[in-house]
């Protein structure tokens, strides 16, 4: 393979910048990590096991759901189904970055994807809408988020009692508010607004009537279908 076929070069300085840029949101991720660590040891995981799970799975909602299913025994197929359903949004998130990712050499492409999660993806996807290409935030920002998730889990398993009730501080809403701010900061054309309305309706319908954890994928695909048939007019 020639170098020229992969024109995207990750810039180390920008990776560091994006690491710092996502530090504020990472502080909140520490709080979630602590809540997870506490939940994990209450369900009987050893501290090191909880840390290992956070390190290798690095997907908060699915980890909470998994330890919720914990007991003397764990049924494997339901565990796989729940983890896959909750994390299936990654499939769409990764696909949406493909136009940029295809310009990275495969090793870097799949390396960077190890750190793909909601917050850094939201930044990258939103900037891509405004014509900026930013995979550095997936790597640098992802590293900040991963470290925060680890530090949080560590705090939770050893001093979980410190943060008994993160909800009373509104901390459970950090990610929701972050993602909403990202969406509203992006481009808003009639086409996008129609897609959002369709996505919202489909997500709600799935949330109420379809199996649990399917609403994100259903809503996102429904919104995507609007884009499939309604193409943006190219500026003349």
């Amino acid at each position: 393979m020639s170098v020229a076929s992969y024109p995207y070069q990750l810039q180390p300085a920008k990776v560091r910048l994006e690491f710092v840029r996502l530090l504020p949101i990472s502080l909140f991720v520490v709080a979630f990590g602590a809540a997870f660590g506490l939940a994990a040891i209450q369900k009987g995981l050893e501290p090191l096991q909880a840390l290992l799970m956070s390190a290798t799975v690095f997907a908060g909602a699915s980890q909470f759901a998994a330890v919720d299913m914990w007991g003397a025994q764990v049924s494997v197929l339901p565990l796989i189904a729940v983890v896959f359903a909750i994390n299936s949004r990654h499939l769409l998130m990764g696909a949406s970055l493909y136009p940029m990712l295809k310009e990275l050499p495969p090793r870097q492409r799949y390396g960077v994807l190890l750190l793909l999660t909601d917050a850094n993806w939201a930044v990258s996807a939103q900037e891509y809408q405004s014509g900026r290409r930013n995979l550095e935030v997936i790597l640098g920002g992802g590293l900040a988020l991963w470290l925060a998730w680890m530090i949080g889990t560590l705090m939770g398993v050893y001093f979980g009692r410190l943060l008994q009730d993160p909800q009373s501080l509104g901390l459970d809403m950090v990610l929701g508010c972050f993602l909403l701010a990202m969406a509203l900061g992006g481009k808003k054309s009639p086409r996008i607004l129609v897609a959002w309305a369709v996505a919202a309706a489909a997500a709600l319908a799935a949330y109420w009537y379809l199996p649990p954890h399917t609403h994100v994928v259903v809503g996102a695909l429904a919104g995507g279908v609007v884009g499939l048939f309604w193409l943006e007019k190219k500026p003349v």
Binding site: S62, A72, V76, G94, A95, Q129, A183, A220, G227
Partner: protein, 103 residues
Amino acid sequence: MTIETTTSGILLLIAIMTVVTLATRYGGVFAMSFVRISPRVESFINTMASSVLIAIVVPMAFDGDAGARAALLVTAVTMLVLRKPLPSIAAGIAAAAAVRYLF
């Protein structure tokens, strides 16, 4: 099929979760490498991308308590007025905390 939560059993469960999650991180990108990125496909993935955010947030608002709704509403309004994410998020979280403290 069940796995006992012994030490080795837990390691196996964590390994399974890791592989499943990794498959979701890689699967979409891998599948896209077989698709030609036409303007139509590009349009699909772009509207899908921001729809992911809406599909996460809207059920959160419908199903959430008053604090959750206040957080999202305040974030949305602040974001539309100031167009700066950090103050908007901070205002939203403060709103959730305030509503839950008061009610």
